[in-house]
């Protein structure tokens, strides 16, 4: 039997026992009261008997009439008490005693009256005196005998009543003891069973807690896995509840939006107002509303704005779920941070544009010497037909010049191509030493152009292809010298500056400067701001290619023409 069932059974038995015992006690109290009343009555009957005995003895002593009258009255009281006793007493033995008392008292009364009559007769007795005296003795003897019976019976009655009282009190005591015993046994059993129950529950609870702890740990682990997974895949999950227009976000979702995961998930309206890029709010709302109305899958690429102001691209995908009545309850979906893929996409697009422009530029710039060659080849034929050999030699020289230019263009293109594809093993580069070596190589040009070059000391060490980085620095210095214009005291400064966490290298000059409109153009292939200048226009394009291959950025700063320019790039330190 299980412990709770045992407890229930014991409770039922105990309660039943207590009810029975309490009822018994109540009943015993009632009958004890009745027994006390019986005892009181028996006492009165005995007292009455003693009173009548006293009156009888006084009468025999004094023979006074008033005593006899009192005896008669006492007899009436005796009859009354016995009548009451007959109604009040219930047990057979007591009733038998009452009957005996009634009988004997009546007999006594009769004998007493005969004695009284005989006494009166004796007063006037003559020759029969002796007989009357003998009769008096006989009657008195019987009276005493009956009185003895009455006395014994009254004692018996009283003893019986007393025993009844004592018996009731004994029963009461035994019942109370039984009640106490039952209570004690009940409490002991209760205590034992409750202890067992508590122990069983404690073990069960401990097991449950251990299981719950394991489950919690598993859940925590899975949550962490999910969270890590979301972080790794730049993904978040969310739920939208249609009725309340509230949302529930995962930790990953908070991360995508740059919000504190400890905060509360924003409502749909708050999200629109605070998290979605203003240009995409209308599109998102319209798309989502249509999805809700049609109960279809919601999918949209849009931008979000983080609290720090940064803009990210995300892809939302959510699936609706319904209740048993096919009523839409909400959406469960995921948000994927696609900023990086967007950037790559944009870069690819830029590359494609650049490739198209490159193809166009290459075909256009290579086409120009070819046309020259074609034209002068035709003119050579005509000159040779006409015998103009000197002129033909001039034309030949022009063709050679055009071919040289094509060769130069193709070499630069080859170099540019290599810069994008071929990289040496990256190594730590001491930039002061590298730039110093470049300046040594360019000593002739620098001195010839009267340019002052200033190199900051203590430049940082960077990681990269030493040969290519040297090419970047050399191109930038040559570019500054080439476009020094008519600056009387040209000056080139090479150094670094700190921007946030980034270390920016720069090569600045005080020469011609660049119109900000051409900041991008200067890094284009074959682009030269001054068409008359030397070179193929590949130098800065090559710089840009090398820096980007190294994971850095390159740009130009200038306050405009004549204000000098500053070419900047970043490198991995």
């Amino acid at each position: 039997m299980r412990v709770p069932t045992k407890l229930k059974s014991i409770s039922y038995i105990l309660v039943t026992a207590i009810i029975l015992l309490l009822s018994t006690i109540f009943w015993l109290l009632i009958i004890s009261r009745s027994a006390n009343s019986d005892l009181k009555l028996a006492d009165e009957i005995q007292a009455n008997f003693l009173e009548r005995t006293s009156l009888r003895d006084r009468y025999f002593l004094y023979h006074e009439e008033f005593i006899r009258i009192q005896w008669e009255k006492s007899k009436q009281l005796s009859d009354s008490l016995l009548r009451q006793a007959r109604l009040q007493l219930r047990d057979k033995k007591s009733l038998e005693n009452i009957d005996a008392l009634v009988r004997n008292i009546d007999d006594t009364a009769a004998i007493f009256n005969r004695i009284v009559a005989n006494s009166n007769a004796l007063k006037s007795a003559g020759g029969n005196r002796e007989i009357l005296e003998e009769l008096d003795k006989r009657l008195s003897s019987q009276l005493l005998l009956k009185a003895t019976l009455i006395r014994d019976t009254t004692f018996l009655l009283k003893n019986s009543a007393l025993k009844s009282v004592q018996q009731r009190y004994r029963q009461l005591t035994v019942t109370i003891l039984l009640l106490a015993f039952s209570l004690s046994i009940g409490i002991i059993l209760w205590n034992i069973l409750l202890k067992q129950q508590v122990q069983s529950k404690t073990i069960h609870l401990e097991n449950e807690m251990a299981e719950r702890k394991l489950v919690n740990e598993e859940l925590k682990k899975m949550k962490n896995m999910l969270s890590d997974g979301e972080m790794i895949s730049h993904m978040g999950t969310f739920e939208y509840v249609a009725d309340t227009r509230t949302t529930f976000w995962s930790e990953g979702e908070y991360c995508i939006y740059g919000l504190d995961p400890e905060g509360t998930s924003p409502t749909y309206n708050d999200m629109l107002a605070k998290c979605i890029h203003p240009d995409d709010v209308a599109l998102l709302h319209q798309t989502f509303t249509v999805a809700i109305q049609s109960g279809s899958v919601y999918e949209l690429e849009h931008r979000i704005v983080r609290p720090d102001g940064s803009v990210r691209w995300v892809l939302d995908r959510a699936k609706p779920y319904f209740d048993q009545n096919s009523k839409l309850v909400g959406y469960i979906g995921s948000t994927l941070d696609i900023t990086e893929s967007k950037r790559i996409e944009q870069e690819l697009q830029a590359k494609n544009t650049e490739m198209e422009r490159f193809a166009y530029t290459v075909s256009h710039d290579l086409k120009s010497p070819l046309i020259t060659i074609q034209s002068y080849a035709g003119m050579i034929n005509k000159d040779l037909e006409k015998g103009k050999y000197e002129r033909a030699q001039d034309d030949m020289k022009r063709i050679e010049g055009a071919a040289d230019k094509m060769t130069s263009l193709l070499n630069d293109l080859l170099e540019l191509s290599r810069a994008g594809r071929q990289m040496g093993e990256p190594s730590l580069i001491d930039m002061n030493r590298l730039i110093g070596d470049v300046l040594v190589q360019l000593t002739g040009v620098i001195e010839q152009s009267l340019v002052e070059v200033v190199l900051q000391p203590d430049l940082p060490t960077v990681l990269g292809d030493q040969k290519r980085i040297a090419q970047v620095v050399q191109n930038l210095i040559e570019n500054a010298i080439k476009y020094r214009g008519d600056q009387a005291a040209p000056r080139i400064e090479i150094g670094t500056r700190q921007e946030g966490t980034e270390c920016v290298f720069f090569v600045s000059d005080n020469c011609k400067g660049i119109d900000p409109r051409h900041f991008e153009k200067v890094f284009g292939l074959f682009n030269k701001l001054d068409a008359k200048s030397e070179g193929t226009g590949v130098g800065l394009a090559l710089v840009k290619r090398i820096i980007e291959v190294h994971g850095g950025r390159v740009w130009v700063e200038s306050d405009g023409e004549g204000m000098g320019s500053c070419f900047c790039f970043t490198m991995e330190l």
Binding site: R114, E134, R138, Q142, D152, L156, I188, I192
Partner: protein, 333 residues
């Protein structure tokens, strides 16, 4: 669970402390029976003895009763005095006369009392229709018994003396023939002969009672030295008598049948006289009062040589009954 088992074992141990009464009875039944001779009568006064014998109460108490049955108590007492019985049942009058003779006998219990057992049955055809008509008539009686004492008492209540009648001494068993044969006009006797004679006389018979002048007692008596030497036997005998007393109180019809069968008396007669008797095993003052009253009568009428009242308390053995039923002893020393 072990604690619950311990509690239950404790309860079982406590409940096992009470020894069953049947175990005691079983042990007693293994002891050998003690042979005793009991002289008793075929009178209704001996009902408790008849019942105790018939119900086997003596055997239950370890007594093997040898019955010595007589027609009246005086004869039974004589058997005791003749050393032929250990116990006898007898009314107080023969006991009183023998005490006055100096016999060392004692009452161990009163087993019956009645003020309606003694009466005079008379023939109407001898001009006896009222008690006063007994004057000058022949009245049979048994000397030395309650019959003699009751006769004198009723005569006194009628304002007569024995000299006013013609007393005829006879044994109880002679009375029926005597009155039927008109050898006497009336007889003073007890039951069952009293009722049997009345029935036989039919309308010619008349009974004269006076319940206010005499109360007969019937008692178990023994020799004083016997009870002193055999107190345990007395207790066993008394226990058997108390069992009979309880049986008679609870099963009067069956008791009447037993008495009818053992006394060879018509059951109608037994039933008719039944309520005249109170069958109680007691020792109370009545026996002393009656003995003293009868002793005064005997001395006055010169029925004894003694002139001094004996101390009857010394002729009553209280210890036996006090040991087996103390509440039945109402005499203090």
């Amino acid at each position: 669970m072990r604690k619950i088992t311990l509690v239950l074992l404790l309860i079982a141990a406590l409940s096992g402390c009470n020894k069953s009464p049947s175990q005691d009875a079983g042990q007693r039944s293994t002891t050998p029976l003690q042979k005793i001779t009991f002289a008793y009568t075929v009178q209704p006064q001996g009902t408790l003895v008849h019942v105790a014998v018939a119900k086997g109460y003596f055997i239950e108490e370890g007594l093997d009763i040898q019955s010595s049955i007589h027609t009246f108590g005086k004869a039974a007492l004589q058997t005791l005095l003749d050393q032929k019985a250990d116990f006898a049942v007898v009314a107080e009058t023969p006991f009183m006369f023998n005490v006055l003779k100096g016999e060392k006998i004692c009452v161990i219990a009163n087993i019956e009392a009645s003020n309606m057992n003694n009466a005079i049955v008379a023939r109407k055809d001898e001009d006896i229709s009222a008690a006063g008509d007994l004057k000058g008539k022949r009245i049979g009686f048994t000397p030395g018994t309650t019959s003699e004492f009751f006769l004198d008492s009723i005569l006194t209540s009628l304002g007569l003396t024995r000299q006013a009648i013609k007393p005829v001494a006879m044994k109880p068993e002679e009375m029926q023939d005597a009155i039927i044969g008109k050898k006497v006009d009336a007889v003073c006797t007890w039951n069952f002969p009293l009722t049997q004679i009345k029935r036989q006389l039919g309308v010619d018979g008349v009974l004269f009672y006076d319940p206010e002048i005499y109360t007969e007692t019937f008692n178990i008596v023994s020799k004083q030295d016997f009870v002193q030497q055999n107190p345990e036997t007395v207790k066993r005998l008394l226990r058997a008598m108390i069992k009979a007393e309880n049986f008679v109180a609870q099963h009067p019809d069956e008791a009447q049948s037993i008495v009818s069968k053992t006394t060879k008396t018509d059951q109608d007669i037994v039933r008719e006289v039944w309520n005249a008797f109170a069958y109680r095993v007691v020792l109370d003052r009545r026996i002393i009062i009656t003995l003293e009253d009868e002793t005064r009568w005997a001395i006055k009428n010169k029925l004894t040589d003694r002139t001094v009242m004996p101390d009857y308390l010394t002729y009553i053995y209280l210890d036996g009954l006090r040991a087996v039923k103390p509440e039945a002893v109402k005499i203090g020393r």
